[in-house]
Symmetry: C2
Subunit: 546 residues, 2 copies
């Protein structure tokens, strides 16, 4: 409201500006807006003040420094068409060079409204120029932005995170310890009244409406939690990247400019964004641990078979597990306690071991942060153990996973050529070519590995990073993603082969563009120790952060 027609399109002005200087400022303001509309990256860079102090904030992140802002713009792909409807100028009294706060309202062509607050400063050489600012871009604008805060219109739901959401989508079934908790359900679980989409719109279109909640959903609802919505997943959960060709890349609020990780991508982002308190996910080869690690969340992959998979669209049943992502260890424990069969919690021998062979899969900065942290642990002797040929285990894991995934989804995929993204399609295609002999051999390797792990670990807790690196940048190529994936899966496949529970706790930080980024500390315990493992991780966290 209140669109006053003031001179030169200015809605209000407070403070004095020479008319030529005002024209010069408005020229820069509108020049910047034009550069935004045409996504002229070079011009946009010039309109932002150089140096490490320049600020730009929006609902996804606060970026500090001209170059980070520039890098962000390179990834953004432009601003949707909009019209400026109000411009308020506030001259900062006595400033030298002149500084003006410009607050403007924009109306996107698609409706709604946006707001831009920009601190503009007159450049040092502007006074020496002619009032005629034609060609100002080439010479550099007469005014530049040293800080900006912007927001646009909000969509009904963020489709990168949610397939469907409600207020709530499904109420709690009873009152209990999870009263007030809200759940983002990965789109692999049955929610009564909805179909399972598995991250593939074509699959969703053909899927029947479920009539009964998946056991894991029902357990949370019985404990008092409401379902906020059904959250996105990588296609058929066969990825740890969080990049779905249909719904897009889920945001990572912990590391602006980086991927969020998957395949429990939607639940993870929903929790990180504060849109849910519990992300209900699955972890076959890292699909909870990896997004927890990338986004600084708590997460657990439960003991294989400990949580019912009834109502779950499988990927590879020999490894599929149910688990949760949360912001706090207390909420993680509450979700686990509400779901795991009561009395199932094994006690835990709180001695730690590490496998330097496993940690060697990690990026150097992750190894360094991990080593520093394990050195700090004052309780629980940290012993180095030999887990055997981990490359062989990883290869066997991949083989069995691929063969099972093809048995689950191959028929549908064959009937729907071209529906899946190229990387996921290739993964399934590899699975289709695994021979029964190769699969049987791989199963033998895994069985031997499981026995060996049980013997070597001897009831102790294996510590390792949850992922081989911090979250890769959005600019990462498919090859880079594949490399990180292989390094991470080599690490996560130990819990997969052993059927072990694994908690990811956000206790490591590594250098990243513009600051630091989280990496999870992973605690792998004996089968059945799920609750005790969460408690131990909580104790470790308290010790580390004390």
């Amino acid at each position: 409201m209140g669109r006053h027609s003031a001179p030169l399109g200015v809605t209000s002005i407070d403070g004095e500006l020479d008319e030529n200087v005002l024209l010069e400022l408005l020229d820069a303001f509108h020049g910047y807006e034009a550069a935004l509309m045409s996504n002229d990256l070079e011009a946009l860079d010039l309109y932002f003040a150089p140096g490490p102090s320049t600020l730009r904030g929006d609902p996804s992140a606060l970026l500090v420094g001209h170059d980070r802002i520039s890098a962000f713009r390179g990834l953004r792909g432009g601003v949707p068409p909009r019209t400026i409807t109000e411009v308020h100028l506030r001259v900062v009294a006595g400033s030298s060079p002149l500084a003006v706060l410009v607050v403007s309202v924009s109306v996107p062509a698609k409706g709604g409204s946006g707001l831009q607050t920009q601190l503009w400063t007159r450049t040092a050489d502007a006074e020496e120029r002619a009032a005629d600012t034609a060609g100002a871009i080439a010479a550099g604008p007469a005014w530049v932005i040293s800080a900006a805060h912007v927001h646009g219109a909000t969509p009904a739901v963020d489709g990168r995170v949610w397939r469907v959401a409600g207020a709530p989508l499904v109420p709690a079934a009873a009152s209990g310890p999870l009263d007030g908790a809200t759940v983002a359900v990965k789109d692999l679980f049955a929610v009564a009244g909805f179909a399972i989409g598995g991250g593939v719109p074509q699959y969703l279109a053909e899927a029947p409406l479920e009539t009964v909640d998946a056991d894991a959903v029902a357990a949370l609802r019985r404990a008092g939690a409401t379902v906020v919505g059904i959250a996105q997943t990588d296609e058929f959960a066969y990825s740890i990247a969080g990049r779905n060709v249909h719904s897009g890349t889920t945001p990572n609020p912990a590391v602006p400019g980086a991927i969020g990780g998957g395949s429990s991508s939607g639940p993870a982002s929903a929790v990180a964004l504060g849109q849910a308190t519990i992300g209900l996910g699955t972890d076959t080869g890292g699909s909870i641990r990896v997004p927890a690690s990338y986004q600084g969340l708590w997460g657990i992959r439960t003991t294989h078979g400990a949580v019912s998979a009834e109502g779950l669209l499988p990927l590879a049943p020999s490894f599929d597990t149910v688990g949760w992502l949360t912001r706090t260890p207390e909420m993680l424990r509450a979700a686990a306690a509400a779901t795991l069969p009561s009395g199932a919690g094994a006690a835990l021998d709180a001695r730690f071991v590490v496998s330097h062979d496993l940690v060697a899969s990690c990026a150097p900065e992750v190894q360094e942060a991990f080593d520093e942290l394990t050195d700090e642990l004052v309780f629980g002797l940290v012993e180095d153990v030999d887990l055997g040929d981990l490359d062989e285990v990883f290869a066997a894991f991949r083989t069995v996973q691929g063969a099972e995934a093809w048995r689950v989804h191959g028929e549908w995929i064959t009937a729907h050529p071209g529906v899946l993204g190229p990387d996921i399609a290739e993964r399934f295609e590899l699975g289709s070519r695994i021979t029964p002999d190769a699969e049987a051999a791989a199963r033998q390797v895994l069985a031997a590995a499981r026995d060996r792990f049980d013997e070597v670990l001897a009831g102790r807790v294996l510590l390792l990073p949850s992922a081989s690196s911090a979250a890769p940048q959005l600019t990462a190529s498919a090859d880079e993603i594949a490399t990180v994936r292989a390094a991470t899966l080599r690490m996560t496949s130990v819990a997969g082969a052993g059927g072990f529970p694994a908690v990811s706790a956000p206790l490591l930080r590594v250098p990243a563009p513009g600051g630091t980024a989280p990496v999870g500390l992973c605690l792998v315990g004996p089968r059945g120790s799920d609750l005790a493992l969460i408690d131990l991780a909580t104790t470790v966290a308290a010790q580390i952060t004390a």
Copy 2:
């Protein structure tokens, strides 16, 4: 990311500040934050610079002037608990008095993150004070905010607007003229796979899942539109306020601080917020025209019976009509054309009439704006007509509406005492007491009125304001809302009694706190003239805004 521990909790600083001055600023910054957390309105008022130039923007509105900001705070009811995790200071060079832009990141206790940009200015008398700022509030803070831009964490869906939403919730059924359009469906229409909630959670909890789309939903989907979600409504659509005791008051982006109107409240807000292109609603006694008027949208109540009510939860079937809310007349026409039976469009005699008796129901500023606009109309002679005793018509409308509403919902309401909000409950209770004789007499009055209207209007188009006033403020009491409701319903009941189509076009503006607010120009045409009426309104809009 990047939470550096800098001295005094400052993450970064650019520019020079004397240490005592810095302490003084941080004292004000943290004092303001503490006042926010305790919702100390008096302190908050002191921390914002006085005068008409002070700015405060957030995703709901940009407010200009200290007093408007103060009034907003009085309604807000506090800020959820949060922790400041980053503070960036940017000293504005050479400013006098000193000015510092403070950009801070906050993490709400419920997760997610927020961002605050504040331009702080040192007050004139701050230099004369002791460095000890104890008691600063009482004396007025040493630094005040002259402009602020803030945003908090975004919920998965805005529950004031949506019951459930998806990306999309339901895809289009075919490609057609509405390709790319997105629909917010009022929670009175059947959407296959979902129950109808009618704005009453307890009713929703007991309602069966619909198996077939309502005809009005199916028509839009067949024409290419996708369903974004099911949007909120006033309880059983029996209100024009947009204040649902369960889901809250829908936002009005066109008039910050005002109600949004109803009962098609969710669809209207969704369209105004840019979250949908078409709001599918119903209008019994104004439930499309009123929110269109309050929020500056286009809307149509169609000819009674012209659009199938199959799959619609009724309120008062003698008056219930289906219609749409849009941002543009083109989209309104497209939605209507996709739904109305082809060839049903009657031609229109583009002569205008007004009823000063009707317009007299309006607030003086609405009458004035209406008179100015009708004076401007260069085509179509505007004749004053006598529609008879409009109080009698309104009373009869209310009687029949109340009796029918009770027949539809009385049994359920009786079985669920205490579920409805007090104003809606009272309305139904009045309906329960209408005798068959009183209803029969009212129907006779309405039949006579319909004949009289047909005769007096003689195929011409009646012009009137869509509502008796601009959107009432959020602070309006139940009594004030009731008064506005009666004045508006007296006007809207003409179309109700006549079964006439009525288009609301956002062509009037009236003074409102802090600027102006929209009011709709309503065009009431002969039965069956729906499409021609939209076309005529479009022509009028082009003439008015030219």
